[in-house]
């Protein structure tokens, strides 16, 4: 009898706990439904409507023709290639530089806290800030970088005039801004590795690069994967920096998916095609994120 009463009490408590959970989270969920899910459904709908009919409010259904038009356009495939190349190159470079710097920081030399603090500064800045600062650094005639290059015998280098150098300038400015994230996350993960592990490994005869490759790197795997997931998704969304630094130029050389969609939608007012393109890139990001998360799971279990 007593037991049953206790059971009923426990059940009631669990149920009220669930109700509390619903009550606490409901307001935020409702806001997210209204400001994210509802607009997303709208974006999906728009992607199947003709652009002219959206502006007049007639909402004429055109099937997949927006998608087909986007996928068939050279401008889109150019933006797609540029974006993919940017994502791969920037994430690989961020990871390599981030590993080098975080491992160096983790040697805990005098002053390393100050270095870590300084390295984190660009991370918190608006991409627009990174853009205008680097545009001034890269300026043709009065830019400090060209002045410094002149000592190496390179005169009046035009950073934004050729595709290769325009791409490089976007890459460099982006590395400046986003590598700190990689450094800080990897450094935090490294400082969580107990000293005993390294000591035990060096007693076993592992040292230097061997120690790094066989002991440190596997322990860092979860942090590296987390960095990859976040940085890949963010790199796909690059817009502000390109807009202010090169405007997508010269020609379409630095046009990325986001600048393409923005131009299609808000300069050409092709909302249908703009929406279709944005659905395509969202799907790509979702698929990539999903596979990176899948990769992440087993690594997590091993390290903890």
């Amino acid at each position: 009898m007593l037991q049953r009463e206790a059971g009923a009490k426990k059940y009631a408590k669990r149920q009220s706990k669930q109700q509390i959970g619903i009550a606490l989270t409901l307001p935020a969920i409702v806001v997210m439904l209204a400001t994210v899910v509802y607009p997303l459904i709208w974006a999906l709908k728009i992607s199947f409507l003709s652009s002219n009919s959206i502006l007049t409010g007639k909402n004429e259904f055109v099937g997949f023709s927006n998608y087909l038009n986007v996928l068939a356009s050279d401008e889109f495939s150019n933006a797609m290639v540029n974006t993919l190349a940017f994502v791969v190159v920037t994430v690989v470079m961020e990871l390599l530089i981030g590993l080098l710097i975080s491992v160096t920081l983790n040697r805990r030399l005098r002053g390393n806290k100050i270095f870590a603090m300084l390295f984190s500064l660009p991370l918190m800045m608006a991409p627009i800030v990174a853009g205008f600062i680097w545009r001034w650094l890269f300026a043709d005639q009065y830019g400090i970088i060209n002045y410094l290059l002149s000592f190496l015998g390179i005169e009046n280098h035009l950073w934004f005039a050729t595709p290769f150098w325009a791409k490089s300038s976007v890459l460099i400015a982006n590395l400046w801004q986003t590598t700190p994230f990689v450094i800080l996350v990897l450094y935090a993960a490294l400082s969580n590795i107990p000293d005993e592990i390294n000591e035990a490994a060096s007693i076993d005869g592992a040292g230097g690069f061997g120690l790094f490759r066989r002991i440190t790197l596997p322990l860092l795997k979860p942090a590296i994967l987390l960095v990859l997931v976040i940085r890949i998704a963010d790199a796909f969304r690059i817009y502000d920096l390109v807009y202010i630094l090169t405007g997508g130029g010269p020609g379409n050389a630095t046009n990325v998916l986001n600048t393409f969609i923005y131009r299609k939608s808000f300069s050409d007012f092709q909302f249908g095609q703009g929406s279709a393109a944005s659905i395509i890139i969202t799907l790509i990001i979702m698929v990539v994120s999903y596979f990176s998360f899948r990769l992440m799971r087993p690594g997590r279990g091993n390290a903890e």
Binding site: G21, T35, M124, L184, A223, N258
Partner: protein, 276 residues
């Protein structure tokens, strides 16, 4: 551990090189802001301006348009962040401690919004906001930024609340506090440092946002600093002295936050990386 001398030197070289790469752009921006127009375009460039002038700052402050953009930015950011806090604290607490059917799935949904590219929202936002007659208002930006801040804050705070010691909550239960009382009187005060960090990350989202602002706003009634800076850069003639002065004023709060909240920032950034 032994550290051979050569190794230490190489390490310092790496750190110093990275330090220059990181810091020089900031320094150069500041140097530019304290130069006269003549000094800006001198060849060779003056590394340290002589004489130093604060004329750009005086001009920018006197002109007043910068103040309007700054006010808009601050207003939108503060209101959005306050609303986001009010919603995110209970939500994160609920997700971390009061599981119910689908709560895991709903939390995953909230977090996954972080991965959604804002450009996909820009077109429906533009059409919705125009239908509501809110184009070119600060309200439009608040509506657009609220979900972006919410997803960041709920994600970070959920991790922090999950680590909140059970014993303290049980003690509060014994004292007869209900859930809201427990949250307001025990959990929030003790988690204040973590909440501040989550708030800072949310704050920066609105403070730094550019793309949605460029679609939803048109004039200085509602435009924010990133728009102001971007439009100064893409005009025919760029006044670098004034532009960098504006940039420095816009960056200053962020730089101060970064330096003073250093420990917390690392904690916030790595909340996902090292949480079990």
């Amino acid at each position: 551990m032994r550290k051979p001398r050569l190794n230490i030197m190489v390490s310092y070289l790496i750190l110093i090189f990275m330090g220059i790469f990181t810091l020089f752009p900031f320094l150069w921006t500041f140097m530019t802001s304290i130069k006269t127009e003549g000094q800006l375009f001198s060849i060779p460039p003056q590394l340290w301006p002589n004489p130093v002038t604060f004329g750009n700052y005086a001009a920018v402050l006197k002109d007043g348009s910068m103040m309007q953009f700054m006010y808009n930015t601050l207003f939108v950011t503060l209101v959005t962040t306050m609303l986001a806090l009010l919603l995110a604290i209970p939500a994160a607490y609920g997700f971390s401690k009061f599981h119910y059917r689908f709560s895991g799935l709903l939390f995953a949904f909230v977090v996954s919004v972080r991965m959604v590219p804002p450009i996909i929202l820009s077109i429906p936002y533009f059409l919705m906001i125009s239908e509501l007659g809110l184009l070119n208002t600060k309200t439009a930006l608040i509506i657009a930024y609220l979900p972006l801040e919410l997803t960041m804050m709920i994600w970070l705070m959920e991790g922090f609340f999950r680590q909140f010691p059970k014993e303290l909550e049980e003690a509060a239960d014994l004292d007869g506090l209900d859930t809201i009382g427990k949250l307001a009187r025990i959990v929030v005060p003790i988690s204040l440092p973590s909440i501040s960090i989550s708030t800072l990350f949310g704050f920066l989202i609105s403070w730094n946002e550019f793309m949605l602002a460029s679609t939803l706003t048109r004039t200085s009634v509602s435009q924010t600093m990133p728009i102001f800076i971007a439009s100064s850069v893409t005009t025919f003639q760029i006044f670098w002295g004034k532009l960098t002065a504006n940039g420095v004023l816009y960056m200053l709060p962020v730089i101060l936050f970064t330096l003073f909240a250093q420990k917390g920032i690392v904690k916030g950034l790595t909340a996902g990386a090292i949480k079990e």
